[in-house]
Symmetry: C2
Subunit: 361 residues, 2 copies
């Protein structure tokens, strides 16, 4: 039996009990809301996690490398949810020729013309919050693209990124209603032209966790819910005890105001999501091997391979050299992407498995 004490630090730990609980909770929500679940695998990037999370087989990905990896492992209904650049058509066609039902996202007539010419099925990205990508539901371009795609149109999709800023369940439920209204309206207008728009898809863990009525929506695409993180806990989407990943680190030195660990910018990431919240958790919250927070200790500053643990309020933190801690992440997607694999850790002690991750593009 490998124990946590034998692991090299830094490394990425995954608690399978929390993972499965998070996944079951979202599956129940999808059932309750009457929609399918097409989980976004951009957070976990792991086939073992996909097998647990994607009951209907359909998944969402953020890179073609993910599409290739999940297809090679038997997932075929794949939505590549980042706007397609023309230089990527060849790889998309290669994957499709091998049997993957890989679908892309477009938001311009130019791109729609090209995917239609190649027979690649596509979704139209709708902008529900003015934040990132997509067309507004009322934009005439939506109808122009739908006409160009014709039978290749799979549906309309959106992602309400602003929902991450909603600090209450009520505000998130409103964001979920905005997401719904944007895609349902886009689908209605497309269908009014006599063009089929089979799927109507919404995204984001905060909206999926708060939605009360998804009438007209066919599926949702949350991703971070599988792992959760300090940001989701801080805005009330989950409890800290739901966070399924953490970075294992060793104490490597001491300072007057705290101690040094061997997890810095490359092991924790530079994500500072919680800096926008009333309780700034630095580069992560420091816990013992059972993932129980140690006082108010946070990783207060980082360089490439060093983290400095300090206490915002109490006396300077200290642990002996060689002691191990677990650092909960601000943002699971970004911290997980620092690592090539998960160490699957049961009860804070036993390492039962290593699960790979697909990186790159």
């Amino acid at each position: 039996m490998t124990t946590v004490h034998e692991l090299p630090t830094p490394c990425l730990l995954l608690d399978p009990v929390r993972l499965e609980r998070n996944i079951e909770r979202m599956k129940r929500r999808a059932v309750d809301l009457g929609v399918a679940l097409r989980p976004h695998m951009k957070t976990a990037k792991s086939i073992e996690v996909a097998r647990l999370a994607a009951p209907d087989g359909g998944i969402t990905v953020s890179t073609l490398a993910e599409a290739e990896y999940f297809s090679a492992h038997g997932f075929e209904d794949i939505l590549y949810a980042v706007g397609i650049a023309p230089g990527k058509f060849d790889r998309v066609e290669m994957l499709r020729s091998r049997g993957a039902d890989l679908q892309v996202v477009v938001e311009s007539a130019g791109a729609a013309r090209q995917v239609a010419a190649r027979g690649i099925p596509a979704w139209i990205e709708i902008d529900a919050d003015g934040r990132r990508a997509g067309l507004e539901p009322e934009d005439l371009e939506v109808l122009r693209i739908a006409e160009l795609l014709g039978g290749s149109l799979r549906g309309v999709m959106t992602h309400h990124g602003l929902s991450y800023a909603a600090r209450t369940q009520v505000a998130r439920a409103e964001a979920a209603a905005e997401e719904r209204d944007a895609v349902v309206e886009a689908a209605r207008r497309i269908r009014s032209l006599g063009i089929p728009c089979p799927a109507v898809s919404v995204g984001s863990t905060p909206t999926a966790s708060a939605a009360t009525d998804l009438s007209g929506v066919t599926e949702m695409r949350p991703g971070v819910y599988m792992f959760m993180d300090l940001y989701q806990a801080a805005i009330g989407v989950c409890d800290e005890a739901d966070i399924a990943i953490s970075v294992l680190a060793s104490v490597i030195g001491h300072r007057a105001d705290g101690f040094l660990i061997d997890a810095g910018a490359l092991a924790l990431s530079l994500d500072r999501s919680t800096s926008r919240l009333p309780m700034d958790l630095g580069y992560g919250k420091v816990c013992d091997l059972d993932a129980v927070p140690l006082h108010d200790w946070v990783v207060d500053s980082v360089t490439q391979e060093h983290g400095v643990v300090r206490s915002p309020e109490g006396p300077p933190p200290s642990l002996p050299e060689g002691a191990m801690v677990r650092v909960l992440p601000n943002h699971a997607c970004i911290t997980a992407a620092c690592h090539a694999e998960y160490q699957v850790l049961h009860d804070g002690v036993e390492v039962t498995d290593r699960w790979g991750r697909v990186g790159g593009w």
Copy 2:
């Protein structure tokens, strides 16, 4: 011939002409200053770059994975410059048993006792700026550790991290003098006990670029100079035309205030070093395929796989869908770590090689 237009985006480009010019400049500085160069490979993490940069064979690394990789490729004189955790001794001994002269860094009597018992050669880390790790030169612990190490003591080393905050050449020269004084004083005190302290080592690209007198110092360990970055250019350590790496990205969408590229937090990193400077360059400066800046365009915001290019002053930036841009990094070490390899690009057109990088720990 592969051209830049055939590369998948996002990917990491390396300009070999700029790389070699940067490397030659630092070699000349080392000669002029009368010290050896033990380049820090934490930035490049590439054997091809190490062969160009390490004329004397000695290198510095930030992870044991780097030590194993460079040793497997023929480099044997390796300083692992992050304080050693006891859990890593087995890997260090394994590497040493295969012929690597791997050296570690300690800053406590406890660690010194353990490395001495195992016959692992060690350096004492000295704190020159109160910022991260190490002991002050006057600390009695330095002498206690030196006595424990005895013949295993290879030298004293420091890294003046605060030198990154020095905005003028004069301030950096002062930081270089502080670095020098700290380690030279520590070495003097150790030697006064009759204990040999062969090496006296300083680090950091800003200090190496500005030092005027390194009397008593035997070597320097800069790393980022090989690639340089927007931060180094902004504080005056280099010109923007010296920056040897960039992220190639494709335009994938448009917005009223700019356009979207397929390089976001995972391809560019979340490093915001330039946010502390008068000219905030967002998540990187946007250039054409010849690495010439396009107006004042910057990657103004990112999500996992999306970047939004905006102009701080001028009209909203626009380029056609599918157009390619190069994004210069805020911080070369952190952006390079997002990628598994370099595409070696000549004259902004021809891709002549792919060089690997060693990731993980």
